[in-house]
Symmetry: C2
Subunit: 357 residues, 2 copies
Amino acid sequence: MEKVQVQSSTNNYQIIIGNGLMKDISHYLTKEYSSILIITDDKVADLYLQKIKLGLPKDRVFEAIVPAGEQSKSIDIFYRLHTDAIKFGLDRHSLIIALGGGVVGDLAGFVASTFMRGIDFVQVPTTILAHDSSVGGKVAINHELGKNMIGNFFAPVSVIYDVETLSSLSKKEVRSGYAEIMKESMISDDRMFNEIRDTRLDRITNHQLQKHLSYGIEVKAAIVQEDEKESGVRKYLNLGHTLGHALEAEMGYGKLTHGEAVAIGLLFSLHVSNEIYGANLPFQSLFTWLKENDYPIDITNWDYDAVINRMKSDKKTTNKQIQMVLLKEIGKPTVEKINDDALKTYLQSFKGKLVSK
Amino acid sequence: MEKVQVQSSTNNYQIIIGNGLMKDISHYLTKEYSSILIITDDKVADLYLQKIKLGLPKDRVFEAIVPAGEQSKSIDIFYRLHTDAIKFGLDRHSLIIALGGGVVGDLAGFVASTFMRGIDFVQVPTTILAHDSSVGGKVAINHELGKNMIGNFFAPVSVIYDVETLSSLSKKEVRSGYAEIMKESMISDDRMFNEIRDTRLDRITNHQLQKHLSYGIEVKAAIVQEDEKESGVRKYLNLGHTLGHALEAEMGYGKLTHGEAVAIGLLFSLHVSNEIYGANLPFQSLFTWLKENDYPIDITNWDYDAVINRMKSDKKTTNKQIQMVLLKEIGKPTVEKINDDALKTYLQSFKGKLVSK
């Protein structure tokens, strides 16, 4: 079992990573609650809802199940969960448990942050990708016009990461999660980048997974502690995300997973970094790793103008100027403003490189 | 011009109260913004929108107008305002100005607190009642099943109170605002209580109004600074509100103004305090003041069970037990849990007292 301590302006909390934690979840709750609402999705419910309930009190534990997928981060489902919480009689001393991946964490966390102006919530992530959203207290739902546009900074009271639950993940989910771990290595550490790049995701061991997960959480926790509200270094965590978010939105949420979209964004960030800084970043080696691990990188049908417009409505945009995180070298992130014309040129030359290889 | 400094966990801000501040509003903004969205309602827009715009930059100032009234604190309007903000191209360095009463403040504040996870907002209150919601950082919208159920703690960066705008208030609005000032006096100061009780609202002078307003803001600011998250003394601000909120919801928001509903709640709190503590609180004198100033206090058609059920879904309820703020004497508030049967008895004897006098 490993523990990572995260400090936020509102509270300090622990991320506990270990095998079989779920069935003993009550041990890790820090106080008594008047009632508990478990928010999860229909896929995770089938696998783990009964299991987690075995670890909780018999009385006043309720459940709300949403459809699996990004589409559940909608205003309608957000409101419906508030309705459930009121009908179940939750009060200010109740707890919300977010059982699931990043979608459930973001959604349930935003409900918890706004229900009666904020009640406690605990995250129980069931995907690799969710290691990312479980640190940093960002919670949100999507607007039709942009991802995570409606949200809050609201930290959980604890995160209980039961790695046992990760063995049931599909290849697509493993891929999606590893895109963020790859990103964390790219902004922090050359050695770790090489290690991840040498990992074949279809042959990953539990030992590797646990190591990479803790590593990713530590990278993110260190950054978030330094800059909770994203005015400085936290921006670096958006490596690959400006394009990634735009792609997700443009393709329709759910067509391309978050991690798959980010993976394309990571490759694009290396391309732009090499162009702007004349750097020698390992574009080809990342490209090969992505192909070997079956990341979808077919970009032949992109509508560049539409993608650029999506990038402009990204939350990181200031005064309509697109900001991108780039790298001077692995472990040395920077932020650049890039104008629309330049961006279009980079997108075109990026496409050229993908097609020619 | 008077200034009250308010300290919150997230920021310190000033409430500036004075004559004719609106036309110079730019002087009171603490930084440059990439764009400004004024959120107001249709009634206030007619009176003050052009005036405030004269005081703001010519470029990148947008407006969003919602229907006047509590009904605008809905999830639909909340979402529509997010749509507007995105379409106008607001970013993280934009400002939202809440121009209007408490409804606009709560709604626009909640939009600001959740747009891209929070951007600056400034309140420009145009009612007496809004002095209350302008202190304390509580922002929220209503759920069909309960008032202010979906919200946040999010402080404005400043509050600009232009008392000139209060001369256009209707008698009903003056009444509604004075119920909160009355409450502030009841929980803090016998002398002030007597002064308010000796005030005839139809003959109020500007001098009195300004004095009472500053007084109310100071009472509230002192309490909120001591207890931002409502774990202790802040509860006292709910004097009259447990019943008040239930009445508003039961009658349908908008039928009874917030202040009118609270006024009945204040009188009820004196009744219950006298019953429980055997105290000698000025029930009769407050009752007379309410009648003299035309507060609607006809409660003959109440459905007690429905009202009690509403009180139970109030946010202050813990473990389904209704909490009420009571007074041991004027200026000495307390909190008591009251069970449903006792509450029903008090409501019946309250009705008896109102009808017999």
